[in-house]
Homo-oligomer: 304 residues x 2
Amino acid sequence: MDQDVVIVGDWGTSRLRLWLRQGKSVIHRRDGPGVSALTDTPEKTFLDLVGDWREAGPTGALLCGMVGSRIGWVEAPYATCPAAPADVADKTIRIEAGGLSVTIVPGLSCTNPLGGPDVMRGEETQVFGALALDEALRTGRHLLVLPGTHNKWTVVEDGKIMGFVTAPVGETFALLKQHSTLAAGGGSQADGSAEGFARGLSRIAEHGAARLTHLMFETRSRQLLDGLSPADAMGYLSGLLVGADVAAARDWFGPMDAVTVIGAGALSDLYVQALARIDVGATVVDGDAAVLAGLSAISRSQQK
Amino acid sequence: MDQDVVIVGDWGTSRLRLWLRQGKSVIHRRDGPGVSALTDTPEKTFLDLVGDWREAGPTGALLCGMVGSRIGWVEAPYATCPAAPADVADKTIRIEAGGLSVTIVPGLSCTNPLGGPDVMRGEETQVFGALALDEALRTGRHLLVLPGTHNKWTVVEDGKIMGFVTAPVGETFALLKQHSTLAAGGGSQADGSAEGFARGLSRIAEHGAARLTHLMFETRSRQLLDGLSPADAMGYLSGLLVGADVAAARDWFGPMDAVTVIGAGALSDLYVQALARIDVGATVVDGDAAVLAGLSAISRSQQK
């Protein structure tokens, strides 16, 4: 059974990541368009992408992410928190495409730690993956974060997702960078510098997240008056936003020794730095590894 | 002398307001394009607009705002805080246009109450106007706010502008409303409702401004899960942003009984409501009245 060939994937808003697996090994990997960028139906897009993989005789496909939303392939209504992999597995939707059985993982809804409603699609699978990969996360209460366009700050307790808060930090930064007067002086083209980022983090650490709105304009005024470069200015703005995001999470989560950051590359590094700035450790789990481990965990729950 | 006919105006980024005055009376009022929307040179635009006013024999023109910036007519370097009308009058720039003497009011720069650099152009004149119109503001320490694209929270003490903090709340709200996923469901077209605004204010009052980033996504999730209407959602987002702005100001200013809100209409009303929500009173000064009174105060200082 463990040597079955299966197709697994994370089909998000902006990209599709597909893997052909045999047992625990990845045989092939292929990327495709996100559900918001399709030029064809989801079914045809999927079948075209996996066409030559069919020769390997996959027994089925398992997909998580926005593929299960109203703008995806078929709507899989949210499972609710608290949720373990089995709770999500119970609410998967099975469809048939070109003779292949395709299982769609639902997202999660919750009442978040601030008492508001919240939703995720795809991140629940990565969180389950992190739990599968790191035994220490499976007992007690822990905070994980998936940085991105919409950060998901996720609380797990004894192996279940208890709730999560979405923080649209990436989206806000991108809008301010691309469209606002804060990016004066060509800043909109500049990547944020590491030095600027560190300065922004320090400014928030000094004043507290409650003053974020009153610190943001310095992104512009320091360019006008202090000769801050566009790259330093964008780093500074990023540092303010990420610093305030991290401070807010500690504010409602309470004291914490370490946070698990799920993701990859530069963005995860920024969160590791921001956590270190407030004396919180971080463990980074690669996002691809988390998706694969999470889909396996959901699949195992289904087979029980 | 007091019966001189003069042209006065506030030439900002997005609009030009011009008045023809005789003594304390306004004879005519005329609007024109802001300095960022000019189709001709500033000089020609100005002379075309005031052409028929020349028959009244104006002795000169006095203009404040972005007209004195690098993107304006002529650059008038910033005066520095602390600043009374005389300090600004000392740094005006005089030019000649079509036989008319035109005086450009400089803006102000400061080290703001959070220790960062800050700038304003035009708002200093309105603040001086509010001081001229309200004797109670001329002694002691007071907080004034000019809500807009970039809010200016201004501290005055014994008749001088001591410093100010710019909060780009209007700009951030507009970007999120027009471009972000928070405005899902057609929210980008909807004006914010009063009920939604009150809910947003309450949410921030309940949790504190430090959690703003972690409350914003509810603008979307409450539409998805709770059936929040687009108009209520945009009101809610506005309430969160304005509530956090007001909370931040109280945080650094300290205890305050009342804030003077300079402006007009719906936006000023939102600030009055947000201040009331945290038990702070508000006095509203009309923006046009403040410009006129401020330009008179600067003009009187020049004549001394």
